[in-house]
Symmetry: C2
Subunit: 124 residues, 2 copies
C-alpha cells in the first residue's frame, strides 16, 4: 500500500507541464548591480526570495540568474498567485528589508510584465 | 501511517530554495517571433518543452514567457543537468522537429548563458 502511494506521488510530481493560471502575475526583473557589491546583493536577494516563498502563500516562484559574461547583469523570473498577493508582498518586513539593503547596490531596475506561455519542470 | 507518509512528502516538496548544481547548464533564450505565426510558434514551443522534460532525464526545466507589451518577444529559461544532456537534447527527434517547424517563424534568437544565483519554488 505504501509502495502504491509512493508511486502515485512520484508520477504526480515527476513532471509538470502546465499553462499559466489566469490570475497569476508573472514578471521578469532585469537588474544591473554595482559589481563591487555583487556578493552582498546576491545574498540579500536569495534571503528575500527564500523568505517570501516560505512565508507568503501567494509568492509562488523565483528563479534568479546572472549573465555568465557579466555577473552584475541579473534576471529574475517572478510568479505571484495574483496581483493582490504581489501588493501584499511588497508590504512585508522581509521585502522592505531587502529594498533598504540593496538601495545603494542596484544601478538599474527594469520590470517587464509577461505572460507564461508554458512551463515544463521535472519533479523536485 | 499513511497520514504520516503524506505529511513527510508535503513538507519535503512544499518549498525548494536551492542553489545551482555546479554541472547544470542554465540559459535564457531571447526570441522574436513573426507575429503572424505566433499561435503556431507557441504551440510548437510548448510541445517541444513538454516532450523534452517528459522523455529526457537531463532536461530539467523550461519556463517560457511573452512580454505583455508585445507577445512576439519571448524569453525562455532553460535548465539542463549538464552540457552533455544539452548536446544529447539537440539531437533528439522532437527537438529537430521543433527547429524545422519554427525555422520560418523565428525572426531573431539570442542565447544567453547564465548562472543560477538561486531559486525558490512552492511545491507543485
Amino acid at each position: 500500500m505504501k509502495k502504491l502511494f509512493l508511486s502515485i506521488w512520484i508520477i504526480t510530481l515527476s513532471a509538470c507541464a502546465c499553462a499559466q493560471n489566469k490570475n497569476q502575475m508573472v514578471r521578469l526583473a532585469k537588474i544591473i548591480v554595482d559589481p563591487a557589491q555583487l556578493v552582498q546583493y546576491n545574498a540579500a536577494l536569495k534571503l528575500q526570495m527564500e523568505t517570501a516563498v516560505k512565508l507568503e502563500p501567494g509568492v509562488l516562484t523565483y528563479y534568479a540568474v546572472a549573465d555568465k559574461s557579466d555577473a552584475s547583469h541579473i534576471t529574475i523570473l517572478e510568479i505571484y498567485a495574483d496581483e493582490a498577493a504581489y501588493k501584499k508582498h511588497i508590504e512585508t518586513p522581509h521585502f522592505k528589508k531587502y529594498k533598504a539593503t540593496v538601495q545603494n547596490m542596484v544601478k538599474s531596475l527594469q520590470l517587464v510584465d509577461v505572460d507564461l506561455i508554458g512551463k515544463a519542470v521535472k519533479g523536485n
